[in-house]
Amino acid sequence: MVSGKQDGVLTGAFYLDGDHACAEGAIAAGCNFVAGYPITPSTEIVERLAQRFPQAGGTFIQMEDEIASSIAIQGAVWGGAKAMTVSSGPGISLMMEHIGLAAMAEVPCVIVNVQRGGPSTGLPTLPAQADMMQARWGSHGDYEIIALCPNSPQECFDLVIRAFNLSEQYRLPVLFMMDEVVGHMTEKVVIPPRETLTIVPRRYTQLSPAEYLPFRAGPDLVPDIVKAGDGYRFHVTGLTHDERGYPVMNAGCQDGLVRRLVDKVRKNADKIQQFDADQLEGADVVVISYGITSRVTMRSVQEARARGVKVGHLRLIVVWPFPETLIRKLATQVRGLVVPEINLGQMVLEVERCAGGHCKVVPVPHAGGAVHDPALITEAIVEAAR
């Protein structure tokens, strides 16, 4: 460890696993409240926060369960805190009702899912990427969320900061979709000085209490926020509500509100999206991957290139909103899109939808418990190029 002190943001180079890096990223983002119910393979995140928060100026509460955790963070946000909860599949399933509430009440918060094999309690200590559709569609009703997929401990640090920033910018729950391998893998993590980090502050209203309406949105479709105790009147509900936050249950109000909740992500998608593109120009085949599978894919792509295949690699960093425009364009330029993922076919459905029959879409599914054998992905690339 190069420098580093035990309070505030640790600055320097550290040898950390992804879980610990995620905890440090949250602290660096200014997170000061975490409620959780520890679960493998995410436990190390809350362990580290429980240890570090007393010095860094935050509070960790071990709650009675995940349902309570996912609502405690929302209460904390209305009290002015920057909040996060941490879990894995079984706990995330329990949180789904409150993720919908956070979407509806526009509560900026981060929900970390260190994915393990499922369904149910599944494979506690082994990886999967099978919660990708749950992240998008798990709560009822129409809404949009943002989801990010890191592929290294460094990215667990860097991207959890972006997750907080996006949650503040767009006032919604951001799902941070790690996996067991990324969470437990240890690598160098460089933590820059706090003053060099970009931190999006909470968008507190500049209006007076007399002028302020809690759910009146500006041109970016996002309303400014207040916190309890500042002298503003506000009302927060999961019911369909008007700009005052009062329940108004008719089709007109529903249309205005729910369209705005969806459009604030859809219409800003190009500002939210983030990906790594490797040799997409002139490629016959492009592999689309995310999370730990992107690192397995790097080896497969190298092997396929050595065999003479012109293959590109598109790594999704922001997975939701899905980069529709880019995939539509790619589909008209390549022979095939190959989609390896540690599930039996989730994001590949989005790729198929966007490809619209313009090219082959080749899934490389894996039921979970391990990463792919790189040779399987290589074979799929070679096959797709034919």
């Binding site: 460890m1 893998m185 690598e187």
Partner: protein, 192 residues
Amino acid sequence: MSATEIKIGGLGGQGVILAGMIIGRGASIYDNKYATLTQAFGPEARGSACSAQIIVSGAPVAYPYVHHPHILVVMSQEAYVRFVPELVPDGLLLYESDLVQPRNLPAGVTHYGIPSTRFAEEFKRPMVSNIVMVGFFGAMCSLVTVGALRQSVEASVPPGTETLNLAAFDRGLQFGRDLFSHKPATVAQRPT
């Protein structure tokens, strides 16, 4: 670009993961290379055969797992039996010589033993056996510099135990260097 893959195996509780952490941290933080550590999770890390896997490279590591280590370090017979078939044909084997009998060793493997637990007992702390082994590792291959390993030991062990652990490290290092003066070892760093 070359990458060297290492596997360390033993019984849960022998400090196999910490040994891997020290080697990985030494390579990445103090030698400024890339080093990715993965480890056995679950029941095996809590008493039965367990392992740490480290890939050390001059370039970023993509695929994080080790299937055919260039260097195998084993602290138990069970780990030896389980992992030795994975070792590359001209690999390097380091083993706890009181606990491991390297039977049916594949031809071409360079191998050195150290009674690291017995040495640790000289310090009245058998738990530093893993640190003795890390010192031995530092002597027997040049993958991670001795200086980086020493710094990493210091940064990785519980505060207040640094002196003890550095003494254990030096014991393993010296034993290895003495062996070296009798028979030269190959440097275990090969392109993959």
